[in-house]
Each structure stands twice: as C-alpha cells, then as structure tokens.
C-alpha cells in the first residue's frame, strides 16, 4: 500500500538546492559569461516635472560604457506607452508610462534613461553623468491632495479621477434611512509594499544562430512577459522564450509587466548582440516598483437591535499612483470582498480611483482585501460597541449560513464573474476561533492583568477570500521510459513550494513515487499557455490542471498496459510506478513498469538504448496495423487545462491578544490564533508556512510599514533602515492554527487558495485589539506607538468604558 501524498506534510524538494546555495535566481544567471553586460537606470529625482532636455554627451566617454538609451532612441511600439494590462469599462482615464519617460515624469523613480556597461558600477557612474533639465510642475501627493484636485497629475484627467465605479445590491440608502440604528465611520489605511527580499531582475540573450530571444525574468508571469516583449520588440511570439527560474519572493509586485527594464534589457541584448542583465537594488525597488494599500473609506450602516445589517453604504477613494497599468483590480476587490462572511440585506459601494504623483499601485498580497476587511470588521465592532453586544455575537448574526451556499451577492467580482461563494461554514469557524484564543475566558485574563497594572485587549476579524481566479492554467505530464515523470505547468513559483505540492498531486493521481516526479514551472518553452501566479490561484488552477493531465496520462498507460498484460483496463491499478492486475501477486505476466509502458507507447525505428531496443517496429505492435493508430499519438503523455466557472472562496478568522504599554504605548502581541478554511489541504506544512508568512506581513502592515512621502513626493524611507519590516522579534512567537476543510465544489481536488489569507485580517484584528485595550476607537492603520500615544492624549478626558464597568 502506497502512502497517500495529498494531505501529507511532505518535506519540500526545492529546499535541497536552496539550502546548498544552488538556487538559480535571475541575478545568478550567466555570471561566468564574459560577454555579459550590466545595466542601470536613470530615475527621476522629481515627482512631477516636464523634461526640457536630456544631455547624455558625457556618458559614452566613460570607459566601459557600451550604450545609452533615452526615449528619443526608441522606435515603433517601444516608443508607445506601456500596455494597460487590465482595461475595465469604468477606467475611463487609464494612463500608462513609457518605457523611458517621454516628456514628463510623474513620480520619483520613473525611468528616464538606460545605460549598458561592462559592469553595474560603471553603469551607475554613467547614469550620474546624464544631465536633465526639468521644468517643475506641482506634485499631487496623497489622497487628500488628489481629491482636492488643486493640481492635476495628468493634464487631460479631470480632478485626478481615473475611474469611478459603483455597484449596488438592493437599496442601501433607503434601508439605512429606515433602520432602527445608524452609524457612520471614516476609516483609513496607508501605503505599504510587497518588498520581497529579491528585487526585480531581468537577463536577456539574443541568439543570432537561431534568431531567438531568451529572457529570464523574476516575474510572476512568464507568458505575460513573453507576450509583451514580443509585441514591443516586434518579434514573432515563437521567437521569444521567457524562463522564470527561482524567484526570491513576489507577493504581487512581480505580476506587473512589462516593467520598463523587462523591455529595455532584451532591446539592448538584441541591439548589442551580447547578453544584458538588470538587477534592481533596494532603493530602486522602493521608488520604482509598485506599492499598494492606501485608501480612505466612508461608511454608513443601518442595523437592527440584534446588530443585523440592514443597509451598508460604502464610499472610498483609492490612490493608484501615477499610472494604471494593472487597471482597477485592487479597488474592485476591496469593493466586493469587504462583505466577508456577511450578508447585508442591502449594499451599495462606490469608489474613485485617483492619480497621485507617486509610485504605481498594483496588487500586494491580499490585494485590496486587507482594506475591505478593515472596513467591514471595524463596522462590526462599532455596531457591537453601540449595542453593547459581544463582538462575536453580532458577527454570528450576520453570517451567511452553511445551508445558503452557493451564496450569490448580486455583485460582479474582479474576474468579471458573479460574486458567488462556493462553500464554507462560518459559524463552525467562529466556534473554533473562540476556543483557540480563549475568547470566553478573556475577561478573567483582563482582570488578572489589570491587577498587575497591565493593559490588554482582544480582537477578532473574519474574511472571505476569492481565490483561484481564471481564466485557466494547463499542465503537461510526460512519463519517460525510465519511469520518471516530468511535469510542466506554465505559472511561476516564488517560494510557495509548488514543486512539492504539485508532485504530491501527481504521485497520487498517477500512482508513482513522489521522488520520481519533477515539476517545471514558468518556462514558456515547456508550457506556453499560462496566466501567472497571483490571487492565490496556483494550487487551484495548476493543481487542478496537473491532476487532469495526470489522469489523461494514466488513462493511456492503462490502455497500453492492458494490451501488454492481456487484461481489462478496469482490472488494473498503478502503484509505485508499476501497473498490475488488481488482486494478483507479483508473479510474471501480471505487472509492468510504467517506464516499460512508456517504451511500448512509442514505436521506434532506431534502438538507441536498451529501453528503445524493446520498442523498435520489429519488436512491438501488430504488423497488420499502422504502428501508431489514427486516433493515437506516440509517447506516454497527458496534457490538459483547467478553467473554472468562477473563483473559489476561501475563508478564515484571526484573533489576537495584545498588551499596550501604559508609558511607551508599545504594542506587544501576547497570543495569535487563526482558523483557516482553504478546502482540502495538499500539504498542511506548506499552508501553515503561508499563514505564518502572511501574519508577519500583516503585523508589518498593521504596526510598522508605511510609505512616508513628503509633500513634494519624495519617499523619505526608501531603505530597510527606515521602512520597518518585522524581524523575528516583531512577530507573534507562536501562532495557533486550526483548519476547517470545506471542499470547493468547483474543482476536482476540492481546493481553495491559501497564499494571501494570512495578511487579510491583520489591520482589522490589531485595530480591534488595541481599541479593546485602550477604550477608544482606532480608525486608521498602521498605528505606531507615537500615534497611539497621541490618541491617548486626544481621548484623555473620556472615561474608559471598561474601567467604568469594572469599577
């Protein structure tokens, strides 16, 4: 009996090369190629300016400099604006930048010139010799300035509004007007960013012998980059290969494409006939790679005595930075996913997406959901406080019930499909969470702490996450004559353990040893049809496609094996890479290796090795028939695609207990609990790792990280010294995790995505716990100790509701 791999905590296969320093991240490639050239980018030092003149005359004098490009040197599609990747009808004023700024720069960090030299040091020297004359324009920084619209980011975009979008289910305003109770809240979230440890990177090599361009990029979408490179450089798609080897974290920022450098590097490689590399440094990452999160929200809610939401009307403003290459995905997600596990009787949402003279905004892990969750959960807490009810009770009153799935919200989701939840059991999750964090015992704990002069608070937050968005992913499974199974899927990997999780699926579906399966991701040579790794879609999409492709390979294996063993296909089973007649012992004639089946699947003319000797046209087949039948093809392979009708909806709840320091207002995490439902778990170890990582990013987003722009649009904290990301000392020392598995009915494996969940409720859950500890409302995140201190001063005259009660 072979052990089932699906659901097991299998150790990751990719770790072996990572642990030995044998990973291949983009900057590790071609290091021993003496022809390799390096590049650097001149970036705008100003947030908003017209370029009057660029003088590059000093650049080429510098020894080691090979070439320099400005917009004037670009031709054809390269001289046009970069693509608007996800157009949406309500994005009425979409704008994208040029690969190199044409005559205006709109954020500090925008690419202006591109230098190629023998090494990066020299390229940077050269960049500093470029002289640019600017005519300064008034920068628009922050949502307030964008809304005030005293200045415009783009002359032809009135009031800085790129898009305005509204959705409504029922009549929210009427319901609020007649509701027994109403509240209004203003809720803000600041900018943060993915900041993976590896920045962006691209290497390109043009091969004149084969007229092919190979591009290696640290991207979340190889096929997307391939399409863009081909279109912009005027190459046939068939001439371009994009390969994504190991990627040092992505979290969303590497899905935007093409970055200017992803086009400039291949352009330079083709022009110069030498391989060219670009590796982003940390400061560049801060000022030229995408950010996210900044939004302001205004909420009106009407509810009854039980806290049931009768009408919810949300207006919000989204800061999308200087350009909109990735469309409206983030605010659309906020607008739909803020509903979480609840079903307000009437819901209206409207947002404006605004231009500012700051770095572009594209999805960052959670993608608009942390803000949505913050809005909804703060609203739930406000209702609870207003009615004097337990916060879990008010939530339970508003939950969609287990027998109500599939649940239609009457809205359109980010993928253009109906917002319909597939499955879940929110009341069961809540029971688990209360248990895990000790919700009912907390007041005793609070009293105990208070007796020691310590102030603690508890908070919880619930979310639902649309995962596994389409349109599709595919997979190719090839069983080699050695019995080894080579699998390719097109989406990329950034550390999520795809090679392990996908191999687990293949091992079970096909009946082969886990060790015999090798997974390739993100290589357009092996799977040219793919979308990418984002929106917690890899396991759902490629996992399902791999399962389907493995089934096809299995079908064929059984058919061929049945012939060879003179048995019925129905009587055969595959285990450990051996096909055997069910119920027979290992005696001859009832078993055949998959490798041998692969040999039989491919009638050969030439005997190039022992295995192939057995497959030559003289050794196999019926001489009365063609060696390959009309409806068949040689080889033991399976290929298939998975395309879901709509997203699948994972869900979860977090709770945290914090202690706030009475003097310093520091916030300490005492306990963190997670209940998580992503359907069937492929590898619980990997899922828990994803939760840990998500929680850490959430802690960062809630307590530390913010992009500190000054009013002239300079990012004041563009280094790890100043932009605070959590170290081991800032995250919860342990996280209690409980899983609920409500399988998704939408895919063959019953899985839902898990990649982003950990980060979604953080701002909400910390705000709730801090509010509970302090006794005054927390409406804006992140919150630093000094901000908490200021809030304490502002609320100093109010009685603390909790001390009042216990007095």
């Amino acid at each position: 009996m072979t052990t089932k791999m699906f659901g097991a905590k299998v150790a990751r296969v990719e770790d072996q090369r990572f642990l030995r320093g044998q990973g291949r991240y983009v900057d590790d490639l071609l290091t021993d190629d003496p022809r390799l050239l390096h590049s650097a980018v001149l970036r705008s030092p100003h947030a908003h300016a017209r370029i009057v003149d660029i003088d590059v005359s000093d650049v080429l004098d510098l020894e080691g400099v090979i070439a320099v490009w400005t917009w004037d040197d670009l031709t054809g599609p390269m001289a046009e604006p970069l693509p608007l990747l996800i157009p949406h009808p309500t994005l009425t004023h979409g704008r994208t930048q040029y690969a190199l700024a044409r005559d205006e720069v709109n954020y500090v960090g925008e690419a202006i010139a591109f230098v190629v030299a023998v090494d990066r040091y020299v390229a940077e020297d050269a960049v500093s010799r470029i002289r640019v004359d600017y005519e300064f324009l008034k920068p628009v920084v922050g949502i307030a300035a964008a809304r005030a619209a005293a200045n415009a980011v783009h002359d032809d975009v009135p009031d800085n509004v790129g898009a305005r979008m509204e959705q409504e289910n029922g009549d929210a305003r009427a319901a609020i007007a007649t509701a027994p109770h109403t509240l209004t809240l203003d809720l803000d979230v600041e900018r943060s960013a993915c900041t993976p440890m590896e920045g962006r990177g691209t290497v390109a090599r043009w091969d004149p012998d084969t007229s092919r361009l190979t591009v290696w990029s640290s991207t979340q979408t190889s096929t997307g980059v391939r399409g863009c490179v081909a279109a912009k450089l005027g190459l046939d798609l068939a001439k371009v290969d994009v390969v994504t080897p190991d990627v040092g974290g992505g979290f969303g920022v590497k899905i935007n494409h093409p970055w200017p450098e992803e086009l400039l590097v291949p352009l330079a490689a083709m022009t110069l006939g030498r391989p060219v590399k670009f590796t982003e440094d940390r400061r560049e990452h801060f000022i030229s790679s995408a950010h996210e999160r900044a939004q302001q929200h205004h909420v009106e809610v009407g509810f009854d005595d039980d806290g049931r939401v009768l009408g919810l009307n949300v207006e919000f403003w989204h800061d999308h930075g200087a350009y909109t290459p990735y469309g409206l995905i983030v605010p659309i997600i906020t607008s739909t996913q803020l509903l979480g596990p609840y079903k307000p009787a009437n819901y209206r949402v409207v947002f404006e997406s605004l231009y500012t003279n700051t770095v572009i905004v594209t999805p960052y892990r959670g993608a608009g959901r942390p803000q949505g969750c913050f809005v909804m959960e703060r609203t739930m807490d406000a209702i609870s406080a207003y009615l004097g009810k337990d916060r879990t009770e008010v939530r339970a009153t508003n939950f969609i019930q287990p027998d109500e799935f599939p649940y239609e919200h009457g809205l359109v989701f980010q993928d253009g499909r109906e917002l319909t939840y597939d499955s879940g059991d929110y009341p069961a999750s809540l029971v688990k969470l209360k248990e895990l964090v000790g919700w009912d015992e907390f007041e005793d704990f609070r009293a105990e702490m208070a007796a020691q002069g310590r102030k603690v608070g508890i908070g919880l937050a619930c979310y639902v996450e649309g995962t596994g968005v389409g349109p599709y992913e595919g997979a190719h499974v090839h069983i080699e004559t050695s019995g080894k199974v080579k699998v390719a899927t097109g989406l990329t990997t950034q550390g999520q353990g795809h090679q392990t999780a996908f191999a687990q699926i293949v091992a079970d579906t096909l009946g082969v040893r886990f060790e015999d399966v090798e997974i390739t991701t993100g290589d357009t040579r092996k799977m040219p049809y793919a979308v990418g790794t984002f929106a917690s879609r890899a396991a759902v999409m490629s996992g399902s496609a791999i399962h389907l492709a493995a089934l096809r390979a299995k079908e064929k294996a059984l058919r061929i094996a049945a012939e060879a063993l003179e048995a019925s296909e129905d009587d055969l089973e595959i285990a450990d890479g051996v096909v055997s007649v069910r119920g027979t012992d290992a005696s001859a004639g009832t078993r055949i290796d998959l490798g041998t089946v692969a040999v039989l699947s491919n009638p050969l003319r030439y005997a190039f090795d022992e295995a192939s000797k057995a497959a030559t046209q003289f050794s196999v087949g019926d001489p009365g028939k063609p060696p390959v039948a009309e409806d068949d093809e040689p080889g033991l392979e399976g290929k298939d695609f998975y395309s879901p009708p709509r997203s699948t909806f994972a869900n979860g709840m977090h709770a945290v207990i914090v202690e706030t320091d009475p003097d310093t207002a520091e916030i300490k995490i005492l306990k963190y609990a997670v209940v998580h439902d992503c359907g069937n778990l492929i590898n619980p170890m990997i899922v828990e790792g994803q939760i840990h990582g998500g929680v850490a990013q959430g802690v960062g987003g809630a307590l530390y990280e913010r992009m500190a722009y000054d009013e002239s649009g300079q990012l004041l904290n563009a280094s790890f010294m100043d932009f605070l990301m959590p170290y081991a000392t800032e995250v919860p020392t342990s996280i209690d995790i409980d899983h609920l598995e409500t399988p998704s009915p939408l895919n063959p494996l019953g899985i839902k995505g898990a990649g982003e969940a950990g980060v979604i409720p953080s701002a909400a859950v910390f705000a709730a716990a801090i509010e509970d500890a302090e006794g005054f409302p927390i409406m804006s995140m992140p919150i630093s100790p000094s901000e908490l201190f200021e809030l304490r001063l502002a609320h100093a005259d109010e009685p603390h509701p909790l001390t009042e009660e216990s007095a």
Binding site: G21, S719, F720, A728, V731
Partner: protein, 171 residues
C-alpha cells in the same frame, strides 16, 4: 577617461583559492557572486540591514555587502556553499543547520536562507544549546519576507539537537 585600477586579490573561500582582479570599490558580496561564481550568497539590500549576504569571515558572521573584496584578502571565508559536510558524496551531507531548515520548513523562497544559515552556524558555535529566546535573538538581525520566522526559530532549536545527535553518532 582613465581606466579604473584593478587589484589582484586572492580570496580564500570554502577551502579554495580564487584569484580575482577587482577595483578597490568592489563589494565582497559582488566579488563572491560575480567573480567567484558563488551565487549562493544573496544581496537583499546592499546597506547592511537584511543579512541576506551574511558570510563567515574567519568564522564570524559578516555582511559581505558592507565589506570590500580587497579587505578580505587574508581571511578564511565561508559561504553557504561551504556549509555542507564532506561525506564522500559529490554533494556532501547537509550541515545540521541546513538539515534543520529542511525538517522545520524554515524557508520558502530561499532568498534570505543563506544569510540565516551562516548566521546560525556561527551562533550555535557560541551558544550550542539555545533557549527559544536565545534562538530568536540569534536571528534577530536577519530579514525574511516569507516565513514569518516561527519556523526559523524552530530550525535553530532543531539544529542544536542535530549537532548533539551527530556528536553522539545518532544521525
């Protein structure tokens, strides 16, 4: 423009000698990666904060992005590639710290990992049997964006066990 002066530098890395010619300003991290081809050492910030580039210089963890290659001439450098133990195989056996990371899922994208591995290798020499707090302290200067650190702390504790097990000849 005058040619930048190059210096002949002998780097002793992982028991081998690398003769490289580099300008005085070349960072040790770049020399290791691009001149010696030892790309296991990663660069995450180039300003000494993230710890990804940590290597051992005469056994002490150093940020190779804050050191010039010319200043490492007389030192014995160990990078992640040099951590495995010789067991007669081409690949070598994973060191206790490497093995512990695999056992405890202490890595995801693996980019920060070499810096953690070198840091902990040195840390365990100083504190062979750390408490959980000491384990956390040991890695408190390294950034990881993926793992949330809980499993890295576990890895430190597990590594200390493996060292002991191997000393007792159990593993």
């Amino acid at each position: 423009m005058t040619t930048e002066q190059l210096h002949d530098v002998r780097l002793h890395v992982n028991g081998s000698v690398h003769e490289v010619q580099v300008p005085a300003r070349r960072l040790l991290s770049d020399a290791l990666r691009h001149d010696c081809g030892l790309t296991g050492t990663h660069v995450g910030c180039e300003h000494g904060v993230c710890g990804a580039c940590t290597v051992l210089v005469d056994g002490t963890p150093m940020r190779s992005c804050l050191m010039l290659a010319v200043s490492a001439v007389d030192a014995e450098i160990t990078t992640v590639e040099g951590l495995t133990e010789d067991d007669g195989t081409a690949q070598g056996r994973l060191s206790p710290v490497q093995q512990a990371f695999s056992d405890c899922h202490g890595l995801q994208c693996g980019f920060c990992t070499p810096g953690f591995l070198t840091t902990i290798t040195a840390g365990l020499r100083e504190t062979p049997d750390p408490t959980e707090d000491e384990a956390r302290e040991m890695i408190a200067g390294n950034l990881c964006r993926c793992t949330g650190y809980q499993n890295i702390v576990k890895s430190v504790l597990r590594a200390s066990e493996i060292v002991a097990e191997r000393e007792r000849g159990e593993a």
